[in-house]
């Protein structure tokens, strides 16, 4: 099973990549996806997480094929 992972804005620069794929066998939550995708970097405490373009918290389990995104606080408008 696998999920697509995206990093935006300052987190993309911190992690050093815009997107990646995480393959897994046992159920993962969003926070565990971060660990694998970032190479075990600490997740900044203000990180926002989305699964399939909806906000979720980091304990949310992911499903095969999901798109998981990580980004800093939003600053639009």
């Amino acid at each position: 099973m696998s999920v697509t992972v995206k990093f935006f804005a300052s987190l993309r620069e911190t992690v050093g990549r815009a997107d990646t794929q995480v393959d897994y066998q046992n159920q993962l939550n969003v926070s565990q996806v971060w660990q694998q995708a970032s190479g075990n970097l600490p997740m900044p405490s203000n990180t926002l997480c989305a699964v399939n373009m909806k906000y979720v918290d980091a304990q949310q389990p992911v499903n095969d094929g999901d798109e998981v995104a990580f980004f800093p606080p939003v600053t639009g408008g």
Binding site: F8, P73, V74, T75, G76, G77
Partner: protein
Amino acid sequence: MIEIRNQAFDPWQETQAYQNSHIAAGKYGATASFVGTMRDFNEGDNVQKMVLEHYPGMTENYLNKICDEAKNRWDIMDCLIIHRVGDIMPDDPIVLTAVWSAHRAAAFDACRYLMEELKSRAPFWKKESLPEGERWVDKNTAG
């Protein structure tokens, strides 16, 4: 309607054009609008340029969601949101929100709601170019 633009836009022309094509003449009495424009200063520093990043797909979904929520909460006829992305120069419009309704209270309330929701939750990120280098804007101020 919501739209993401990667080119400069004129918020007043857009408002008028949308009104002419989408809002029934004679039925609306109130139009409240807000335009956010790029300043050449932020937190005491000169800002020469800005890059606005978004999350294609999620950003559009989120803007549509806050328009739908505004229509559920207030008696309004329609909303328009246009948001710029990409390279932005000082004095460029960044965002337009406009709301049409029969009476003014709903238009005022909904227009402000759209902006507060957009600024607190819609996935956009600003990176400023200062004389001494670039920096990510770390958070929006409360409205």
